[in-house]
Symmetry: C2
């Protein structure tokens, strides 16, 4: 059962109660991420997420850790281009303690000492990512595809941008973006709604309520055909990523996009799987649908021996062209709908996943959707929906970036 | 609700029905693994697990894949030292199809052609594992600790043992170990028990019913103090593993073993975490309890810069010695019990995990245990249980193996 309310300071509270669940998942969603960073702030969203665990007036970093541990919480956080989420799953009796810790850390001290220490940790993290070719090709191709669009901004930032960041800038970002009106508290599982609202009011009622300052620009991403190679002599695999515009997160075409990408490039049983992975021509080959605020993208990627790259690229283009011109079969549609519905159901058996789904739907759609709503929407994807999707967002002229030993890639 | 029956050919059927679950998890547990292999068969259990997906009289390998995909099944298999399990999680309406596929593949054709092709795949898998230092130190230290004990036998085998294996040997192993009397079929989730039993009877009622030929030797593992180094010049980390005997899987001391290892070396909030991981002295440091048929082991492992290895080993020994001589605090006991209970509850929200738990308890304990039984047993671990455990299985004289750049490791 769904519940919703808003505190006077603008903080929104959502709950999905389920008395047969065994646990409760709690999350604080902050509507902020890399795309909301202004000049000179690159990487601050993710850096701040780390700093949130470094302590408050009431707790140092060790105490945060110990207090979560004491109640057996499974807690973590993540930063995306568009949101930052702090979450914990606990047994029903520990909701008050878990909320106390989460609400406390969301008003962090951001001490200068900790700030400088954590800078090193963040730069080490960036260094670890930079040597991963799968991440490099993603990061560089994404930037090239989105260009000046705010979705092109990097979550991690660069070692230089992190080095240059001052604590004052983080404080300023925090005041702007972590205001109560920009935060949604979500609970899913076996808990009492009224008691939960009282706890949130008690812990968060005094939070600064200013609205987020800058609304987001909602432009879609442009189409950017082209083929680019990034030579990396020492690698022995070629990593290829291909991008094209797709529906934004609130588009009615989004379900068709999920079904179509599953047909073309699910990690199992898809056209790319049978064309490239099963015969051993590529180590991996898949396509996913990235749904964001006001913009979306299809992202196709494969990796293989360099000598097979040109031939595999030709195969990928042929697969996409066949879908674009001839569509998909009724059988493929049925299988993909069943596969997505089954995954959705199995995933949502966990309260953690329900909490994430409820929070995400609220941030992106400003609505509550049940699991059954989602299943019905997936089930309703028919040939017409696929045709409409392909007409509006054709699988043509993908921007292609290849990173690996090749200087040149010609299909 | 729990149900159990046995077919005339000896195949056992278990079910835990839960009408509020959204899916059904099915599993076939075969009581066989690396420890049951005889001379010349090393690796055959795992190799056979692969071959099971290569086709039957009714389906080739591609059809197996497509048929699972058609019903949106999340299916897989694993081989351990002591069991081989084939499983699939599906939406309730697809139980008949899922059972049809699982039962069919468990009577595989084991075609000579597929056997030779898969040999290459297995040898590639072994080669990929061999270059991983974390796996090498595990594999080599486990062999050294168990010695001639059957639990010392390798799951993957060696490239040589796989090369030397003939299809006839696999057929012979299959006849011996995959008899109906050695197999347990398990379902957990939202399904009808009677209908499930009828399906299993229909598909498996004619399976060869001979009992497994060789019962297992139930000796415990010996204590083998000693420090061994395996020099690997090219590595830049030192990987250390330490072994000591622990309670067998059916011992009443097993819950105390889980709680104690969580206090000493959980990946978070444990003594080793605070002594080595949090201050950055080691990349990882943990201890786990391995519970097997008739024997158990404590396995402590850490990895770090080679120059810190000796000092870290001294710290580990001090931590173990303190626990052995002074025990643990009441607060540590409470935190560890809460942590383990919370994980157990959260894990068991998924039907897949319930199915695994029900099957495993049956194989190891020959009994059904509810989630509440498990939680009560964890909650009952007190200071006396920890003392009894440490008296019977002291944390002293662990066998230590270090793999990495060091020639010599002196604490």
């Amino acid at each position: 059962m769904f519940h919703q309310t808003t505190l006077p300071n603008g903080l929104q509270i959502l709950g999905e109660t389920n008395s047969s669940a065994l646990s409760v998942a709690l999350g604080f969603f902050v509507r902020t991420g890399a795309r909301d960073e202004v000049a000179g702030e690159s990487g601050v969203s993710h850096f701040l997420e780390h700093m949130v665990f470094k302590g408050t007036e009431r707790r140092d970093a060790i105490q945060v850790n110990r207090d979560f541990d004491k109640i057996g919480a499974d807690n973590n956080a993540f930063t995306s281009e568009e949101m930052t989420c702090y979450h914990a799953a606990v047994l029903p009796e520990y909701v008050p303690q878990a909320l106390d810790i989460l609400a406390d850390i969301l008003r962090p001290s951001l001490r200068e000492n900790d700030f400088q220490t954590e800078k090193k940790v963040i730069k080490d993290e960036i260094a670890r990512y930079e040597v991963r070719p799968d991440w490099s090709v993603y990061d560089q191709s994404r930037k090239r595809f989105f260009g000046d669009h705010p979705l092109g901004q990097s979550i991690l930032g660069t070692r230089e941008s992190i080095d240059a960041l001052a604590r004052e800038q983080m404080l300023d970002y925090f005041r702007r973006r972590y205001a109560a009106g920009n935060i949604v508290a979500v609970a899913a599982g076996n808990f009492e709604w009224d008691a939960f609202v009282n706890l949130v009011r008690e812990h968060c009622g005094e939070w600064n309520g200013a609205k987020a300052a800058m609304p987001r620009q909602k432009a879609e991403a442009p189409r950017r055909p082209g083929l680019h190679t990034i030579p990396r002599e020492k690698l022995n695999q070629e990593y290829v990523m291909m991008w094209a515009p797709a529906p934004p997160a609130d588009s009615p075409l989004r379900y068709a996009a999920h079904v179509l990408t599953s047909i073309i490039g699910d990690y199992t049983g898809s056209r790319l799987y049978w064309a490239l992975v099963d015969p051993g021509l590529a180590d991996s080959a898949d396509i996913s649908y990235i749904d964001a605020d006001g913009a979306g993208a299809f992202l196709l990627s494969f990796s293989c021996q360099p000598e097979s790259a040109a031939q595999n690229l030709a195969t990928v283009r042929r697969v996409l062209d066949e879908v674009q011109t001839k569509g998909v079969t009724d059988d493929e549609l049925r299988v993909a709908r069943t596969r997505l519905a089954a995954r959705e159901v199995r995933g949502n058996e966990r309260t953690h996943r329900r909490m994430l789904a409820v929070g995400r739907d609220w941030l992106y759609l400003n609505q509550y959707r049940t699991l059954d709503d989602e299943l019905a929407a997936v089930d309703a994807v028919d040939q017409k929906a696929i045709r409409d999707l392909l007409a509006r967002y054709p699988l043509r002229d993908l921007m292609t970036v290849a990173l690996g030993p090749l200087d040149r890639l010609e299909a």
